[in-house]
Amino acid sequence: MNVKHFIEDKLLVFEITEELDHHVSERIRRRADYEIQRFMPKKVVFDFNRVVFMDSAGIGLVIGRYKTARAFGATLELMNVTDKVKKMFEMSGVLKIIPIVDAYEEKIAN
């Protein structure tokens, strides 16, 4: 996972580069929670651009980080979600509470 900090915008971007399963999700969870607590962002974005595989561990990871982000007063968004990953998020009801956005640059400009 690559972590990008946008200091001025208080934006934290997690770019997932792994195959997102139960095995890797525990490591990503620890790193993501550490970064949120350290950086205190206003917004957290998960970028799925490089995710070639995801199973239900990804759903648990996103819901868990939504809770962490909210506890620290930040919002959470998903980006570059493929149709297959989107279907899994839809099935779990995640998209009712977490939005999918096109790009975080646009959001900053607004």
Binding site: E19, D21, H22, D55, G60, S92
Partner: protein, 160 residues
Amino acid sequence: MSSQEVKNQMKIEFLSKSVNEAFARIAVASFASQLDPTIEEIADIKTAVSEAVTNAIIHAYSDTEGVVKISAKLLENGIEIEVSDNGAGIENIEEARQPLFTTKGNLERSGMGFTIMENFMDELKVESIVGLGTKITMYKKIQKIQHLENRTYALSSNNI
């Protein structure tokens, strides 16, 4: 589950270590590729296998270590995959199959494993005996028409 003729079959077994989740889904996907599936069909199979194997590791063996077995059969029109363990077993299968039901919320499990297997495969059977283990049998149709077209395309591009 299916009465089709068996064209090929394989078996693998491995310890219930989470690092083997990737190994398991890649091994099954590689075997399934003999049926010329689409990228979409392969992705569905990988996801379903990953869910079944993760369940065995997290739920069946929990804090212990055991053996997870996978056997797969290539049939005329699809693939049958069996994932089994000798672990804890499921007390209430109907409840376990409900979307969002989980007993491992502390591990951030979403409770979507069975729902995803059901949605991405064409058939799903769950058999379990508490204290003895669980067997998941899944069947995925592999569409023939598509890969005939792909094959024609592959041949013609080879000629160029």
